[in-house]
């Protein structure tokens, strides 16, 4: 098994205008920095991007928004990015805002062969528009469908050439479920290890879900809100 590719440029080979991408990360934490840079470099456009957030104006997916590469975003919260909010309110950008838990579960379902499921989240709100409602235990639930992507761009902490990967801290977030749901899953890691270098008991996503993996470089790991407390 050798899923190693050289770099992000090789990793994103095959991504074309109009495709649907999943991008891991929560805020700027755990985002596939190298692949995003590579997407900016090749200038691919009309993309549908599924990602919990939209980065900030000058980092993360914000870089792609600045260059009008994104036609549609599917996210749960876009509050950190003023350019995003502006493009959305002026209708330059199509946006589907969906509950975070439903987003996570729809990706998981997409990777797990579950075409649809019922959830209580969003019942009674505009999120429920047009969706089937069914009662379980006397409580209303709405039908949500699975999400899949042509490519899932994932950031992990360590991985091997089999595609086995582990994540660090809260940089994990959406990466595991998106790794499952991508038709082609591309993983960038901070540290490439030899097969056997990861304890099989502690692998977060087994390599079966991963098609390409490469050693990433130059991670900025920007902190959105550096909050501290003073020593008493």
């Amino acid at each position: 098994m050798n899923k190693l590719v050289k770099d992000a440029k090789e990793g994103i080979e095959g991504i074309k205008d109009g495709m649907t991408l999943m991008l891991g990360g929560f805020g700027l934490c755990g985002i596939p920095e190298n692949c995003i840079s590579a997407l900016v470099d090749i200038g691919v456009k009309d993309l549908t991007c599924i990602s919990n957030n939209a980065g900030v104006d000058d980092f993360g997916i914000g870089l792609m928004l600045q260059r009008s590469q994104v036609k549609k975003m599917i996210s749960s919260y876009v509050g950190e990015n003023d350019e995003f909010e502006r493009q959305m309110l002026s209708r330059d950008l199509e946006v589907d805002l969906i509950p975070q838990g439903s987003l996570a579960e729809r990706c998981r379902a997409g990777g797990a062969g579950i075409p649809a499921f019922f959830t209580p989240a969003g019942y009674g709100t505009e999120v429920a528009n047009g969706k089937e409602v069914r009662y379980f235990d006397g409580k209303p639930h709405i039908l949500e469908s699975a999400l899949q992507a042509d490519y899932a761009l994932v950031k992990a902490w360590k991985g091997d050439r089999y595609g086995n990967i582990i994540f660090k801290g809260t940089a994990r977030n959406f990466n595991p479920v998106m790794a499952m749901a991508g038709k082609i899953t591309v993983v960038e890691v901070e540290e490439l290890v030899e097969p056997g270098g990861l304890d099989p008991n502690f692998i977060h996503i087994p390599g079966v879900f991963v098609q390409r993996i490469f050693q990433g470089t130059g991670y900025e790991k920007r902190i959105e809100q550096r909050t501290t407390r003073s020593k008493a």
Partner: protein
């Protein structure tokens, strides 16, 4: 009138030993600063962290350890990390005992609106809809009136809803109120705030039953 910290302090009095608690962004995060003596709770952060601790000391910030508001945090001993689907399984599966969040409007039957002002502010709902649809115990922390002086405790929400009939209790800078089948029941007044002031600031149905004590802070 209470300030943000005092609202958080009053809500912290609701914490019970052994609870798992989710705190929304804004005033709710301050609740973590007022955990009562002898009470042990674990804070869940929807982005995949159980055992969220206070902000780190300067120089110890970890870009890979943030909370739902994208702030750097620490992790308490005994804490754990998991992915987003596991996080919402915890939430949707009702394993978290208390959710505290902010709101723009709350109706007297427990509807909540806190994610969208059409045409003006559309940041998104984040995890709020999952939280309010699933938690048994939901406390809203907010100002009693908005910047224009209009009541935020209404007969019916005018803004797009986050959830229906889900809020249990509201703590504002003026009062503590329960949501009952007959509307907002006034439980406590903020120190120095009169019944008349609260009535004037509450547009929804307000039930005042006998003497209403002041909050003890």
């Amino acid at each position: 009138m209470l300030d943000r910290n005092q609202i958080a302090q009053r809500i912290a009095q609701e914490l019970q030993n052994g609870w798992y608690v989710n705190l929304g962004i804004g005033i709710p995060t301050l609740v973590a600063n007022y955990i009562p003596e002898g009470i042990d709770v674990e804070f869940q952060s929807e982005n995949g962290l159980l055992g969220m601790g206070p902000f780190p000391f300067e120089g110890e910030e970890d870009a890979d350890l943030i909370n739902a508001g994208k702030q750097t945090v620490t992790m308490m001993r005994g804490g754990s990390i998991f992915d987003s689907s596991m996080s919402f399984a915890m939430i949707r599966g009702r394993h978290v005992q208390l959710t505290v969040l902010g709101a723009m409007e709350v109706s007297d039957c427990g509807d909540i609106a806190n994610w969208k002002i059409p045409g003006k502010m559309v940041k998104g709902m984040g995890g709020a809809m999952d939280l309010v649809a699933s938690a048994d115990n939901i406390i809203v922390a907010m100002s009693h009136t908005n910047r224009k002086g209009q009541s935020k405790l209404l007969r019916q929400c005018s803004l797009p809803l986050t959830g229906v009939k889900c809020v249990k209790k509201v703590v504002t800078n003026m009062a503590v109120l329960d949501i009952t089948p007959n509307g907002f029941e006034l439980l406590e007044r903020a120190p120095g705030v009169s019944l008349e002031e609260i009535q004037a600031a509450t547009e929804g149905r307000l039930i005042i039953d006998g003497d209403v004590p002041e909050m003890k802070l």
